[in-house]
């Protein structure tokens, strides 16, 4: 029992990180129907930004309070990563928006390669590490044994839940969210009734990048290491999560992330770790056979 709960905690933590990144994929897909393959690398960039800011604050400026340092890193990191997200959209995607469907996709793959190579050149190819933070562990007695719940695992799950709730509110109840939903349904019509489509799309990219930035900071506190190619594996897993949950759906992205995290973890826990990715992707394939639009996705309605 304690083993099961322990692995459940592991799976939920990993799934929350996948979910946070998956939201970025799903929002962009929802609004312009494009898979932003560079999003995984934006996340990697965000982890680097978080690391650099954190080291600057604690080593150079000598900020003693860990909480203060983390909050400053969070705010500055979100601002800087959002700037990257906006610039990428402005330079690489907007000029291709009227073009044929594959053009922005290729541009996104190019941007992904550009970002990882850029970081490799300016930051070097080595692993960048940070001292372990928030190492406090809660030991909870369960059954005959006990499980350990690290503070940072709790932090990751809480932040993901809070951000999902906040984002849900923005999309459902604010004018920005209304504009986003309008663009999602029909961009031309939205423009005709006075929605600034370009600005709405830019803001969507900024929101996605800001979430990636939070994921990057959580990643650094949890794993404490990042290298230039760390955008790839989490990016692919998060994209898978977005597809599994139903691409275009916000709660679907988080649900998909949690499912992928849990499947991987429980497969590793009770079977051999060798086949965990085989298991995760097989389940993805089976789900897509029976639910082609994912768990919470709405099927595409042909607009006549």
């Amino acid at each position: 029992m304690d083993y099961f709960v322990q692995q459940l905690i592991n799976g939920l933590t990993l799934g929350s990180i996948y979910g946070l990144i998956a939201i970025g994929y799903t929002m962009v897909y929802g609004i312009i129907g494009m898979v932003n393959f560079a999003h995984g690398d934006v996340f990697m960039l965000a982890a680097f930004i978080a690391l650099i800011l954190f080291l600057m604050l604690t080593q150079l400026l000598g900020v003693g309070s860990l909480g203060l340092a983390l909050i400053v890193v969070l705010v500055l990191g979100m601002a800087l990563t959002s700037l990257w997200g906006w610039v990428i959209e402005r330079l690489a995607y907007r000029p291709l928006r009227g073009s044929f469907r594959l053009a922005p996709l290729i541009s996104a793959i190019g941007m992904s390669i550009f970002l990882s190579n850029f970081v490799q050149v300016v930051q070097g190819p080595r692993n960048k590490t940070m001292e372990p933070l928030l190492s406090n562990v809660l030991v909870l007695p369960i059954g005959n044994g006990s499980v350990t719940l690290a503070e940072k695992q709790l932090l990751i799950m809480a932040v993901t839940a809070a951000l999902l709730a906040g984002l849900w509110y923005v999309v459902k109840h604010t004018s920005l969210g209304r504009a986003q939903r309008a663009c999602e349904q029909d961009r031309k019509m939205a423009a005709l009734v006075g929605v600034n489509v370009d600005r709405t799309i830019s803001l969507t990219f900024i929101m996605g990048a800001a979430l990636a930035s939070v994921a990057g900071l959580l990643w650094m506190t949890y794993y404490g290491v990042v290298s230039f190619n760390d955008g790839f594996v989490p990016g692919v897993k998060a994209f898978t999560a977005a597809v599994l949950g139903g691409i275009g759906s916000l709660p679907g992205a988080v649900l998909g992330g949690l499912l992928i995290g849990l499947i991987e973890t429980f497969w590793s826990a009770y079977f051999t770790i060798d086949y965990k990715d085989v298991a995760a992707f097989s389940i993805l394939a089976i789900v897509l056979i029976f639910l082609p639009s994912g768990l919470l996705g709405r099927p595409d309605v042909e607009k006549v």
Binding site: Y3, P125, N127, P132, T148, N229, T265
Partner: protein
Amino acid sequence: MRFVKLAAAVFVTLALASCGGEQKLKIGVAGPLTGRDAVFGAQLKYGAEQAVADINAAGGLNGQQLELLYGDDAGDPKQGRSVANNFVGEGVSFVIGHFNSGVTEPASEVYAENGILMITPGSTNPKITERGLTSVFRTCGRDDQQGKVAGEYIAANLKDKKIAIAHDKTTYGKGLADETKKTMNGLGVTEVLYEGVNTGERDFSALVSKIKASGADVVYWGGVHTEGGSILRQMRGAGVTAVMMGGDGIATNEFAQLGGPGTEGTLMTFGPDPQKRPEAQAVLAKFAARNFKPEAYTLYSYAAVQVIAEAAKAINSVDPAKIAAELHTGKSYKTVIGDLAFDAKGDVTRLDYVMYTWQKQPDGSITYVQN
């Protein structure tokens, strides 16, 4: 067809353009200059660079100056092959490299087909020299020797402990883990857990919980520092105090940065520290002047170039095939890591793996110290 002609024309032009002038003898150094094993790639590169510079300063190889070419395989077998083909096209005679056993294996086939002599300073998988290729040598040991030392150490010192084995599914990592397991099982110690993880991942929480549930006291890691360090950090984060034990793949100080303070006490098999040898002191000063710390494989790479130079001097020829034949005679050559002689397979004849422990230094850093 037109493309082929055009390519052929370009190729011929380039080939002609590179002729003329003083003929330099080309020697290639190949390894993961970028990517997750870039630390080791840098060691190979710096070692070969320094050796070539020293030989050129002393008048070259039998009077011929050496030119060093670089090949980046990024730790990827496919890229390793293309680096090898590139070297063939450039007319390289000798190659120092590669690092990862899984990359060295396919690349060495290209070298063998094209009469290039290859010496790897860091590929320890037994298979590398077991394929009957006469042009393949190594200055490091083999994983079956290393796994034997690790397995015997476990059986002798940790017999009553519970042992878990994890590896990274690569030629090197799984090979080493399996050799250790074989030796240890043969001596009556059975592991409680045996698992393979994916390279390039960062989350090992499921493995860590599995280790915890198995009650292991020692975790034998077959793989490199990137995943090994992360597993160690996550073990300590989850309150697992098991000692980690690894091979030469974790022999870089980056392992301690990845692992955090919990790295202390980690056991590791590696060759006796070549930096302590009297022969190495003059070279060490040169590395210090270049501000490079010649860790782990740097001096093995330096020695690989030296071996070629010594053999070429002995037979007064720079023909790779003749040098290979000379090396196979079993004569011993003076290098910075001591006297090296090769057997018929191309392995060094001396057997040297010893146990290291990662210890905290007075300056607070954690590094590996020979037991």
